[in-house]
């Protein structure tokens, strides 16, 4: 009998330890570079992201060639010269929401969160941190965040000829509407 109780307790705690995961395959990432010379903007609507609301673990992955620019030349330079997207087809983030315990997925509301982790762009990985907002509504979770990335930190070389056209720090907006991952 005692063994049975132990087994049941272990099974229950195992269940609790397994985090509730949410995902999206339509995460939206936009970036903005604003200089007196030029304003550059691009968006990608096919980013993939997974959020574990128990542990706070957060991952994002995005395909560089999925970023859409208005001007063809800009898109070409971005892929071929700056990001070298044939060699480095993806950008990734792996980290966590540091204050996930303050987010109650069962209670509608908006929650300010702090995110930290490792960002990999152009084959270079750097630690990053940012703030964001998680919105819970009717069992659905959405998240958004705005932060800045220093282009040179990731080994991205901008030729002197266009150096005035591209900001040293590019502003990035990230947004996702998460769905619960079906549990097996």
């Amino acid at each position: 009998m005692k063994n049975l109780i132990v087994i049941v307790v272990l099974l229950l705690s195992a269940q609790l330890a397994i985090g509730q995961k949410y995902f999206s395959k339509t995460g939206k990432i936009s970036f903005y570079s604003d200089t007196p010379m030029e304003k550059i903007e691009a968006t990608n609507g096919t980013a993939s992201t997974v959020l574990d609301v128990t542990s706070g673990n957060l991952e994002w992955a995005v395909l560089i060639q999925g970023f859409k620019f208005e001007k063809a030349l800009m898109q070409e330079h971005f892929n071929e010269n700056y990001m070298e997207s044939t060699t480095y087809p993806k950008a990734k983030f792996k980290g966590k929401i540091d204050n996930i315990s303050s987010v109650n997925v069962k209670k509608d509301g908006t929650y300010n969160v702090n995110v930290s982790g490792q960002m990999e762009i152009h084959g270079v990985t750097k630690p990053v941190s940012a703030t964001g907002v998680i919105t819970v509504k009717g069992g659905n979770i959405s998240a958004n965040s705005k932060f800045s990335v220093t282009v040179a930190d990731y080994g991205i070389v901008i030729p002197k000829v266009v150096a005035e056209n591209i900001a040293k720090n590019v502003e990035i907006h990230v947004q996702a509407d998460y769905q619960p991952m079906p549990s097996n």
């Binding site: 096919t46 993939s48 044939t86």
Partner: protein
């Protein structure tokens, strides 16, 4: 000497005009572009699952015409997407249609063809700038 000035000015204006046009030229639609490769959704995903690097060499940045059974048609924030099913229950081929391209009344379960640019593989293979091939 002064007879050269007018042709030079005209040449300058033409070159500047071409430069301005090239600089501001919008990203072209792939509608009229011929596909670099035609493949089934199943094969496309299988290639990526087997060896991502080799699949990228074959498909990344290329115009790919993918055929298969429609698993899902969705519209999010004005962007239409057509998902193709594969033999892998969790992974699909996702095609994001170019602005102004509709999913042409495609129904789930229908066999269809979509042409777009392969941007690579996350947990699914993703094509962008796509259009439905009639």
């Amino acid at each position: 000497m002064k007879y050269f000035i007018i042709p030079i000015i005209i040449l300058f204006v033409v070159v500047a005009g071409i430069g301005f046009y090239m600089y501001n030229k919008p990203v072209a639609s792939l509608d009229r572009k011929k596909a670099d490769v035609s493949v089934t959704a199943d094969q496309l995903l299988a290639d990526y699952e087997a060896n991502e690097q080799m699949a990228n060499d074959k498909y990344l940045g290329k115009v790919v015409e993918v055929s298969g059974k429609v698993a899902q048609v969705s519209m999010e924030e004005g962007k239409n997407k057509v998902h193709f099913e594969t033999s892998n229950p969790i992974s699909m081929v996702i095609t994001e249609l170019d602005e102004g391209n509709s999913a042409s009344g495609l129904e789930v379960g229908e066999v269809a063809k979509v042409k777009g640019m392969c941007s690579g593989y996350l947990s699914d293979v993703i094509l962008v700038r796509s259009s439905v091939v009639k």
